[in-house]
């Protein structure tokens, strides 16, 4: 059986003024439907580049990225991306930001049905009463929830998250992480999630598997770590779990010692 999302020997070379730069080299990864997989690594190691290639915003120089057996060549709503800086359109209300996405992606629904869907996801992320506000009038955490709602509302096959909680304070981050998993499980765990992060705790809390990337240039996946912890996971409980400790120490070792230097 072919995997749901498959990266095969993916390489990305950027042309720079000082010649070609091999950002990502020979990355292969199979992801099954319903999995939550994290890409973790030092900043600048090319993990966002990998995510952008899954999103179709960038083409692989060599190798292939396939979703359900089809080659990815361009962006599309089946791979909804939650951008690192949220990327809401600042001249539109919260409602319009989600509605315009739903409106252009979903076919075969009446306007009323589309509006219903927008309402459903706005309620889900708890922003219904803020729907008329513009992005400039709400907090960073709320913007992030709008971005997540927008991504979920187009019913993507894969949800792509680029350091989704990176710029939030610790408390907001914890509650949003929990919310993300809640939304994920409300969708019967059929949603596949690929997430880029540099936060070890976040990766363990959320993921089924963690792909650890080596440092760039020529960054690649060094090791894929399984996270055999039962769900639902609660941050305060799992930190006491010996399995958690073990994974945490291993990841820490990989990132600070094994892959600390460029490969």
């Amino acid at each position: 059986m072919t995997p749901f999302l498959q990266l095969q020997e993916v390489t990305k070379i950027f042309g720079t003024s000082r010649g070609p730069y091999v950002a990502v080299n020979d990355v292969s990864l199979d992801i099954q439907r319903g999995e939550i997989v994290s890409l973790i690594g030092h900043s600048g190691c090319g993990k966002s580049t990998v995510l952008n290639m899954i999103a179709g915003l960038e083409r692989a120089t060599a190798g292939t990225v396939c979703l359900e057996g089809r080659l990815i060549t361009e962006p599309g709503p089946d791979r909804a991306l939650v951008f690192q800086n949220y990327s809401l359109l600042p001249w539109m209300s919260v409602w319009d930001n989600i509605f315009e996405a739903v409106d252009s992606v979903v076919t075969g629904l009446s306007k009323a049905e589309k509006r219903e869907r927008v309402e459903h996801f706005l309620q889900m992320v708890g922003l219904w009463q803020h729907r008329f506000k513009r992005p400039g009038q709400i907090s960073g955490g709320m913007k992030q929830r709008v971005a997540v709602a927008r991504a979920f509302a187009v019913h993507p096959s894969v949800l792509l998250l680029d350091e989704p909680f990176g710029s939030l304070d610790a408390l907001t981050r914890a509650s949003l992480q929990e919310e993300l998993v809640k939304i994920w499980s409300l969708d019967n765990n059929t949603e596949t999630v690929v997430m880029v992060t540099h936060d070890i705790e976040e990766a363990i809390l959320l993921s089924d598997r963690i792909a650890v990337m080596t440092n760039g240039p020529y960054a690649t996946i060094g090791e894929v770590v399984q996270v055999p912890l039962d769900r639902p996971r609660h941050e305060r409980e799992i930190v006491a779990n010996p399995v958690y400790r073990e994974i945490h120490d291993h990841l820490w070792y990989l990132l600070t010692e094994a892959y600390a230097e460029a490969a």
Partner: protein, 291 residues
Amino acid sequence: MLRFSPARAATASVTPPTRATLTFRPLVPGESAIRARARSIGAALLFPLAGFLLLALVWQVASMIAGKDLPGPLATLGVFWHLLSNPFYDKGPNDKGIGLQLISSLGRVGAGFGLASLLAVPVGFLMGASPISRRVLYPVVQVLRPVSPLAWFPIGLAAFRSAGTATIFVIFMTAIWPTLINTAFGVMSLPEDHRNVARVFRFSRTKYVTKVLLPYSLPHIITGLRLSMGVAWMVIVAGEMLAGGMGIGFFVWDSWNALSLERVLSAILLIGIVGLILDRAFDWINQRFAY
């Protein structure tokens, strides 16, 4: 090779100055809101007033040094008041009230500016959105933009055989460039992130233009229009001095010929005030569309 450089476009597009907000905390505890507000308005008026008093002082000193050649502020204000007291009289082609002259000038500026905007906004949009059209058109823009607008006056005369229409043509040639360049620059500077949103969620071309490109570049376009209006209002005076017949520029020249510097200075004051009002109007529009 000629290339469209955003840096140069940026210097051409003066970003509107951020509004200086003067806030006044109530100095007196328990002072009522209305009193505090009245005091803050009073203080806000105080500073500009001081500036004008300073100007009047310099003016007065200059006129005392120059003697009879330069009328002082008080003499000028008397004539200014006289002109404003009956602005709309019409005693034949060579003697009309200053209000009629102003309306005539505003009409020409409006016509030239309006036509220029109708051309500059779409062409600027095209140049911003399509690199090919940018490479074709930008060199032309670069060559035509530095030309003094008055140089177009003979062309206008030859084409339209009417000094009034030629003046409108001069305003048209003046008002194109700031709008064109700001529009192109605005459209071009659309952040990659906004573009990517449209790509990921498969916005149709229409939706991309109306919901992303246009709202994003609207403040840039309005800034361009504001700059265009500013230069158009400056050039109209010179244009009408050449064209004669009617308008505030003609009024200035006619007053000089009548050896009334009081009237010239009054006209200068009035031109400045109208320019300020036009600028404020665009500022107000810009705030409507800011995000």
